[in-house]
Amino acid sequence: MELLHAIPFDQILIQTLNGLVSGMILALVASGLTLIFGIMDVVNFAHGEFLMLGAYIAVFTVLATHSFWLALIVASLGTGVIGALVYLTTLRPLLGRDPLTTILATFGLSLVLQNYALWQFGPVARKIPEPFGGSITLFYLDYPLYRLLIAALSAAIIGGFWLFLKFGTWGIWIRATTQDRVMAQAMGIPVPWVLAGVFAVGSAMAGASGVLFGPLVGVDHAMGFDWILRAFIVVVVGGMGSLGGSVLAAIFISLLEAYASLWVSPAQAGIASFIVLILTLLFRPTGLFVATPK
């Protein structure tokens, strides 16, 4: 109790908000990752680089058009198209082989994309301007409105995608293909296109999260790396391939890290998520937020 009394209430509140905001972005990054893993058993190590590419596309779109919203749309579509191309040229020929080959391929791709960005755009971080300033006052704290908007937008994108999965024809195709790829083909579902489409949508979601998060941290070639590590933890803790599990795990881990940084430095707070990861792998390797498998 001594420990709790030492923390002012306003800090707890602001860390809760911070945790939710970064949790929603993390959920957006991890949804794409878990979706791709679920349907094609590919662990995409280059997912963070799609986030970075999305952010860079946004930097240049904003420079040209001065519109953040246009940049968000262009970057999402752009990373989606790049994702589809990468899938068709690099991953599709490797599907069905040893999982190690796709891991090495995506890891190599990640290095290529990072170094390409470093070569093209240099080491200096670029800035995406916030679409609007302003803040709300919580008690005596000023909390930037843009952060709240990020959380809301991420939630909207994930929610929209969930509805699409639940009710759309493509949604049923995606779920059927995830559950039984061979039977999906036998039912006339164009599985090769579904896989390419899912990779594109997953990449677009990573790109969108790069744009949304860009204004908070700055855009550089390595920005994807931090996210991807945490996104992997989320995907494992949430249960590989489970969308709902990933969203819950993202919020859970981000809140945990946010609260931990009340006591220790934010870098050390990252340890909290690794502890959760290790405990999950030890005691519930199928994931914390999925129904107990029978």
């Binding site: 024809t169 559950q179 039977m183 006339g188």
Partner: protein, 253 residues
């Protein structure tokens, strides 16, 4: 898809030739040689049985027709066109529907969603989809009661019905049925028999792989006997019903 040489009038060839023709297909699973040149034919709207002991390649034959296994030699002709190498989803849309031995219901999709996997095709109007769904629910009232239940929660017999209903959503010209009565209670077996009759009345051809000999002889017009990856015998079901010897020779029952 390429037309066969003699099919200079593909329309005529398609109308007069058999719906499905399998020509001496060979297939390997890893290094083991499963099919040693299987040949068979199924006419339009014809129910044909495929009998044989376990492991003689009955399921592999069906998979090869559905495009899920690629024969290393030989041809599969559907409506007079060679379909080797055509992706399975295109074969499904062209009218070859496959009901696998283990049913393979999508376990987390609801009954209706399972049916929709075969319905959402180009060229199927909303009213036609509704009509097909209602027809399936008419044939299978049990499924209608469970339409919003996840496929994985159904009983074995219900899953078999769902698998067949799902295959019918493709409006197929032929259904490949792999051991539909396996593990079902006798009451369910007679229902499967009725379903095959329904398919026959709707002029859907059926290639039926079964262990249940009486059912196969009752439901089929012709029967092929498979042994060691080859067709060893072929007869009208009516002859076989009158003569047990053939059954004994090829199935050892």
């Amino acid at each position: 898809m390429t037309h066969v040489a003699e099919a200079s009038h593909p329309e005529t060839a398609a109308k007069h030739g058999p719906l499905l023709k399998v020509e001496a297909i060979h297939s390997y699973y890893g290094k083991s040689h499963i099919l040693h040149g299987v040949s068979l034919e199924v006419g339009r709207g014809e129910v044909v049985g495929l009998l044989g002991r376990n492991g003689v390649g009955k399921s592999t034959t069906l998979k090869a027709i559905a495009g899920l296994v690629h024969p290393s030699r030989g041809r599969v002709l559907f409506e007079g066109e060679t379909v080797n190498g055509v992706p399975p989803h295109r074969l499904a849309r062209a009218g070859i529907s496959y009901v696998p031995e283990d049913r393979r219901i999508f376990p987390l999709l609801t009954v209706t969603e399972n049916l929709r996997t075969g319905l959402d095709r180009r060229g199927v109007t909303a009213s036609r989809k509704k009509e097909l769904l209602e027809k399936a629910y008419g044939y299978f009232p049990v499924l209608s009661e469970r339409r919003n239940q996840a496929g994985g929660t159904l009983s074995g017999g219900e899953q078999q019905m769902l698998a067949i209903a799902r295959a019918m959503m493709l409006e197929p010209k032929i259904i490949l049925l792999d051991e539909p009565t396996e593990g079902l209670m006798p009451r369910m077996v007679s229902q499967i028999r009725q379903i095959i009759d329904v398919l026959y009345r709707e002029s859907v051809a059926v290639l039926l792989v079964e262990q249940n000999v009486p059912l196969t002889l009752a439901a089929s017009r012709r029967v092929y006997f498979l042994e060691k990856g080859e067709v060893r015998h072929h007869a009208m079901a009516s002859e076989l019903r009158a003569d047990d010897d053939v059954i004994h020779r090829y199935l050892g029952v």
